[in-house]
Symmetry: C2
Subunit: 233 residues, 2 copies
């Protein structure tokens, strides 16, 4: 049975957030929520009649601020984050292979997929993978800051994400071209940066990108390591 | 089992298009595709490994041009449209109660829901309803052109859409506030225009709106009545 998430978009930062609805229609999990949309996202949960069980982060974002802390405060949900991202206030610190349970019978598996940042994870749920900034549609996240490593990203994608079944649906953390979803099979065959490329080639390609620093980075990373809440609050 | 569509967005006209994936992962239907995104939408179908069975329209749109004709030409899919919308080149002309079948076991039921336009329909599939411009999240479509009627829209929403189960997920044709999905139960209780309002009140409210004419209207309606293809082509 094909079960998809509800995909939400932030136009300013081209960020996707996702609501995963339990099959028993009682509860949900949100992945990578964006600060300025916290009321919109609560309204979605209310309209769908769902209790928020967890707020998950794929990593400490550099381009937008999370609403995780706010959602936790308002709903009583638990924040669950990658243990390697320095997000200290989160109740649950996740490591590779951990399983998050919600609803009557939902299992989300944690895959540690470093490369965009050293702590980045992906989440696997019912034939879907939420890849954050590790694997994008026909691309991948940058690897030049926050302990990023093109070598690690290559190993994460080729060794872990491309080992998932070809029909697995890929839901990225961003898209800048209006694209929404892909599959592992398509990315294995066609991804412009990673398909049919050696680790050396990939490293050279990433080193040549010379990307500007994200405008919000110096604000966003410390804020996100505090779940988006003001420090000292 | 909760099965959601893939929801796609056009930023220019705030239009949602939807891909409904058959459970056997072989084929799909697209609802209300937008002209300028036809290549994006084909790429989605290719990435998901799906053959396009049908292109559906909820009505002849006034604010954007459809890619239906283009998608039919390129993929061999069939266009299925409401019989009351004057979209003459479409192979299948739908009426209330018709059922569209695709994949091994998929059924889409057609509900004639006039009011935004006289021909408008909604589509019901696996606990989801695609309401076009009849019912929006916390609102509804305008009723002041294209044989629109606030009386007819009221009867469509109260009599047909609100008769669906409360848990039915509502996927609108547009949203202008970043909202994505609602439920029949929530709209029955809270919709700002239609919840707990008499037909007379609703008529007065709609008559007082005095909305400007859509910029693209004189181009879009004739184009959409030809499935978005150039006339004489």
């Amino acid at each position: 049975m094909n079960v998809n998430p509800v995909q939400l978009f932030d136009v300013d930062s081209s960020t996707f957030s996702y609501i995963l609805v339990a099959d028993d229609n009682t509860s949900a999990v949100i992945i990578d929520p964006v600060e300025r949309h916290w009321q919109r996202d609560l309204a979605h949960l209310e309209r769908l009649g769902l209790k928020l069980a967890y707020v998950l982060e794929t990593h400490a974002h550099a381009d937008h601020v999370t609403s995780a802390g706010k959602l936790v405060d308002v709903t009583g949900a638990r924040a669950a984050v990658p243990s390697g991202c320095g997000i200290m206030p989160a109740e649950v610190q996740l490591k590779d292979g951990d399983v998050i349970r919600f609803g009557a019978d939902e299992r989300i598996e944690v895959l540690h997929t470093p490369g965009h940042t050293a702590g980045s994870v992906s989440y696997v749920w019912r034939g879907n993978v939420f890849t954050g900034d590790t694997l994008l549609i026909d691309g991948c996240g940058r690897t030049d800051f926050q302990s990023g490593s093109s070598q690690a990203l290559y190993d994460s994608v080729i060794g872990k994400l491309f080992a998932l079944p070809d029909t697995t649906r890929v839901w990225p953390g961003h898209d800048y071209k209006g694209q929404s979803v892909s599959t592992i099979g398509w990315e294995k065959r066609h991804n412009a940066r990673l398909a049919n490329r050696s680790k050396e080639d990939f490293g050279a390609l990433m080193a040549a990108l010379k990307l500007p620093k994200p405008i919000l980075m110096d604000i966003a990373i410390p804020a996100n390591q505090n779940l988006g809440l003001p420090h000292g609050a």
